[in-house]
């Protein structure tokens, strides 16, 4: 059994910090890596060891397999955790780690390859009897083949890159007329993004929820599931809010979806933590979408409702231990919701907002978990993902969790950049969200103003903002007066010593 005593964390930001913390909590040494932009990042300061891996662009640092292996060697790390993103789903990296005599904390490169390619994943799980979204089970190459395949599947069609992810190489085709250009543009986008132009078709399902099942497998063929996460609140195929459990999943459906997810994982010989994504329609039918062969961004919601520490279990599994949790011991308690806080301006089409974090007020108190890599003085740069924090709440019920999230969002103040916190506040105030009426078009409807938002006191707030602005001007006037006279003025409020710095003000995009 490979003993793990020092883990190289091949990532940055909140997930690197979460992994450093996990190491500290099990008495394992952590080795951080950092690009030039990240020298004073939280994960670097919190880790036991830290090594530079190059310039700020990730291609030259966090994606450099050679440099990462070099750090592993230099530091004497005996295992590598990739986090999510960057090289997390790169089977070549996993293989290189293993070939270097280190333990890879994740599924085998074989399972990663089998499931990483979407067509291959469909074939693998179909063989295990897993229902998939109706589609072409081979690559679609030319226009005529495309039209034939689409005819069989039925419009609307979703063209997807087999090697893809994150919405790239994806096109919706409503009818024959749109096929030729959609096919060509999807292929070329797939080619340029993933180095493979292979695309295939799926029926484009509407009025569906995105529901995924967290699985956990060991190296001995045991696989369990830890319930579902609903991730229907998406914008451009990027998840924004996740929760567990889903209002649309009752225990019977959970058991069915869980069993299917476990079967899918077993079909691929899956170990470690993984996620099987499904679309769930209004009739309770669910269709396999893909498997994410890594720890997910949204793993905390599952941790909060199950009480299982997924990273800890990943480390145990990687060190050769059998699963210690049995399926019937997995119990969901209460409700958890995660909001992904991004440096994006929701009042300006979610354009990324760059700059320096001048101040932060973090939410706290009961049931609030904040995973973030930002700190006062840190910079949000062009180099990395705009997601700067994950705000996760747990509460005994969903209704309580929504109100708790709302008050936590209100407490969370980030000065110096724009964030999407107002967007999340809008979602928590929307009647559809509160009632659990979700589907993958939720955000689209909301941004088009087609969602009823339970806005209290809007006029009152405007009035208060007006008063404050007048008082701020008045205060300056009084201060000027006070300064103008030799002696403090009579009857005037004392002028506070400024404890606020104007330095490090925002620089970003407008």
């Amino acid at each position: 059994m490979p003993k793990i005593s020092k883990i190289l964390i091949a990532n940055r930001g909140e997930i690197a910090l979460r992994l450093v913390r996990a190491c500290a909590e099990v008495g394992i040494q952590s080795v951080a890596v950092f690009s030039e932009a990240d020298r004073t990042a939280l994960h670097v300061r919190a880790a036991d060891e830290a090594y530079p891996v190059g310039p700020s662009p990730s291609r030259e640092s966090y994606l450099r397999i050679d440099k990462l292996l070099d750090v592993a060697k230099k530091s004497g790390a005996d295992a590598v955790h990739p986090g999510y993103g960057f090289l997390a789903e790169n089977a070549d990296f996993a293989e290189a780690v293993i070939n270097a005599g280190l333990t890879w904390i994740g599924p085998s490169p074989h399972a990663m390859r089998l499931l990483g390619d979407k067509l291959s994943a469909r074939h693998t799980v179909q063989a295990a009897g897993v229902p998939t979204v109706p589609g072409s089970d081979v690559a679609v190459d030319n226009h005529q083949q495309a039209l034939d395949a689409a005819e069989k599947i039925g419009y609307p069609i979703l063209v997807k890159a087999s090697a893809g992810g994150g919405g790239k190489g994806m096109r919706v085709v409503q009818g024959r007329d749109e096929m030729e250009s959609a096919l060509r543009s999807a292929q070329s986008e797939a080619e340029s993004s993933f180095g493979s132009g292979v695309v295939y078709f799926e029926r484009y399902l509407e009025q569906v929820r995105h529901v995924e099942i967290q699985v956990l497998g060991d190296n001995y063929g045991n696989v369990i599931h830890l319930g579902e996460r609903e991730c229907s609140i998406q914008r451009r195929h990027q998840k924004l809010i996740e929760e567990s459990p889903s209002v649309a999943v009752d225990p019977a459906l959970r058991a069915r979806m869980g069993a299917v997810a476990v079967a899918a994982a077993k079909a691929a010989g899956y170990s470690s933590a993984g996620t099987v994504e499904f679309l769930l329609d209004t009739k309770g039918n669910f269709y396999f979408l893909e498997v994410n062969t890594r720890l997910q961004v949204e793993h905390p919601v599952t941790e909060l409702v199950t009480g299982v520490d997924l990273v800890l279990e990943q480390i145990r599994i990687a060190s050769g231990r059998p699963l210690r949790i049995k399926q019937n011991e997995v119990q969901l308690r209460g409700h958890a919701i995660e909001c992904r806080i991004a440096a994006e301006d929701p009042f300006n089409n979610f354009v990324p907002s760059l700059g320096t974090i001048a101040a932060i007020a973090e939410p706290g108190g009961p049931g609030v978990r904040l995973d973030t890599g930002i700190y006062r003085g840190s910079k949000v740069s062009i180099y990395y993902d705009p997601m700067i924090a994950k705000l996760i709440v747990w509460a005994p019920t969903r209704a309580h969790a929504i109100l708790r999230m709302r008050r936590a969002l209100e407490e969370f103040r980030i000065v110096g950049i724009q964030t999407n916190i107002p967007f999340h506040l809008g979602v928590t105030q929307s009647v559809d969200f509160q009632r659990g009426r979700l589907d993958t078009k939720f955000v689209e409807r909301m941004m088009e103003g087609r969602t009823r938002i339970d806005d209290q006191h809007t006029e009152e707030l405007e009035q208060v903002a007006s008063m404050v602005s007048a008082l701020v001007v008045d205060r300056k006037r009084l201060a000027g007066g006070a300064l103008g006279r030799a002696n403090g003025a009579n009857g005037q409020r004392p002028v506070e010593t400024s404890t606020w710095r104007a330095e490090g003000r925002r620089q970003g995009i407008r």
Binding site: A359, E462, V468, L471, V473, E496
Partner: protein, 179 residues
């Protein structure tokens, strides 16, 4: 002190009074001064000069905290899911702004009114003079400042109804110009 706050396309007039019992805000409602709101305004962190900072306001018992971010003109505040861009005008700025565009609309005889009560310090034109748009007509002292009253259009001065030393109410006609 009176302030006029522009927010969205609204305009909110507020009078800030510092009394023995604390600060009071009176909304200015077309001259009708209605409610009096006692406010307790405090900075948590702030820069007096730029106005940037975190403030606590208790208005009529209700408590709010707002972060104020200075813009080139005015302030930005994020409150819950809303964001307000506000611009604060003093009464003088507001009156100057108010009279200017309105008069430009008229053709024929244009009457230049006093934008606020004050003392006419100087009269720079006389009946019969030709003036160009923007030309200084007279100087009105109000709110401890000298304010230039400008011609809002070119034309010929037909009447000057005040002279240096006249104390005028707000709205009083000062000069008439024939286009």
């Amino acid at each position: 002190m009176r302030y006029f706050v522009e927010v969205d396309d609204r305009e909110i007039g507020l009078e800030v009074l510092h009394t023995e019992a604390g600060t009071i805000i009176r909304p200015i409602d077309d001259g009708l001064e209605t409610a009096q709101i006692p406010v307790d305004f405090a900075a948590v962190h702030s820069n007096v000069e730029t106005g940037e900072g975190l403030y606590s306001i208790i208005a009529g018992g209700k408590s709010y905290q707002l972060y104020v971010e200075p813009l080139e003109h005015g302030f930005r505040m994020a409150v819950l899911r809303h964001r307000y861009d506000l611009n604060v005008l003093t009464e003088r700025e507001w009156r100057l702004k108010k009279v200017a565009p309105r008069q430009a609309l008229h053709s024929g005889a244009i009457t230049i009114n006093a934008p606020m009560p004050g003392l006419v310090k100087e009269v720079l034109v006389a009946a019969g003079d030709s003036v160009s748009s923007g030309q200084r007509l007279l100087v009105l002292e109000a709110m401890k400042m000298e304010n230039d009253i400008l011609a809002s259009a070119a034309g010929k001065v037909t009447q000057v109804t005040v002279q240096a030393g006249t104390v005028v109410d707000g709205g009083k006609a000062l000069v008439t110009i024939e286009a």
